[in-house]
């Protein structure tokens, strides 16, 4: 199981770009890197997922270097509503009975200030 490590908290101001880096040194060949966002008392919400290089969608970009031992979630021009906990997760690939379960480690509390 690949353990993930990310900063406990980060602060930013509205309009800035925020980059949250996560390390996952023991990631396996078939594992995916996935990021979720969670607001207080709400279920986590999928943000982005990638396997290697760069992935971009309408809300974020995910950068994964060739060795895949880390990844960086990039949020462009954050707003107050982006204040939330962000979880970096390694989604197990085809590993038999452990398919699909998500291991939530300590997420990053992002606070966006006006």
């Amino acid at each position: 199981l690949a353990k993930t490590t990310q900063p406990i908290s980060m602060d930013s101001y509205e309009g800035q770009e925020v980059n949250i880096t996560c390390s996952h040194n023991n990631i396996a060949t078939n594992d995916y890197i996935t990021w979720y966002q969670q607001f207080p008392s709400q279920g986590p919400r999928f943000i982005i997922q990638g396997y290697k290089t760069k992935v971009t969608n309408e809300v974020a970009s995910l950068f994964i270097p060739a060795d895949r031992k880390s990844s960086t979630l990039s949020l462009p021009r954050v707003s107050l509503s982006d204040t939330a906990v962000y979880y970096c997760l390694v989604a197990l690939g085809d590993r038999g009975s452990t398919l699909g379960r998500l291991y939530f480690g300590r997420g990053t509390q992002l606070t966006v200030w006006p």
């Binding site: 078939n30 594992d31 995916y32 996935t34 969670q38 008392s41 709400q42 279920g43 986590p44 919400r45 999928f46 997922q49 396997y51 979880y87 390694v90 989604a91 197990l92 690939g93 085809d94 009975s97 452990t98 398919l99 699909g100 379960r101 998500l102 291991y103 939530f104 480690g105 300590r106 997420g107």
Partner: protein, 114 residues
């Protein structure tokens, strides 16, 4: 778009009572996951089902049981409730099991044991 439905949204029980939480996945999703999130903690995987069969088991107490029915909805049965069971219980669904599949979380059921 249809989302994951959980009921009830709030539940108050006394110690040693039983509780049943229900989860209705997104239509055509065949996989259901249950997570528990205690106060100030990160979500912890409990159990999952794929095509009505248990596919994976995490840190679910023996006092808890769950199943997925023919219509793909799932129920988490909790007996001999303890104070420490007070938490948010999230259900998530996906199409397929492998790590590359995004999980969609429901709004959660807040269980309070007094």
């Amino acid at each position: 778009a249809a989302g994951v439905i959980q009921s009830p949204r709030h539940l108050i029980k006394e110690k040693r009572e039983t509780a049943t939480l229900k989860c209705y996945p997104i239509p055509r999703h065949d996989t259901v996951y249950w997570y528990q999130q205690g106060p100030g903690q990160d979500p912890q995987f409990l159990i999952s089902f794929y095509e009505k069969m248990q596919s994976d088991k995490g840190s679910i107490p023996d006092r808890f049981s769950a199943q997925q029915f023919s219509d793909y909805h799932s129920e988490l049965n909790m007996s001999s409730l303890e104070l420490g069971d007070s938490a948010l219980y999230f259900c998530a669904s996906s199409s397929g099991l492998a790590g590359g599949h995004e999980q969609y979380f429901g709004p959660g059921t807040r269980l309070t044991v007094t």
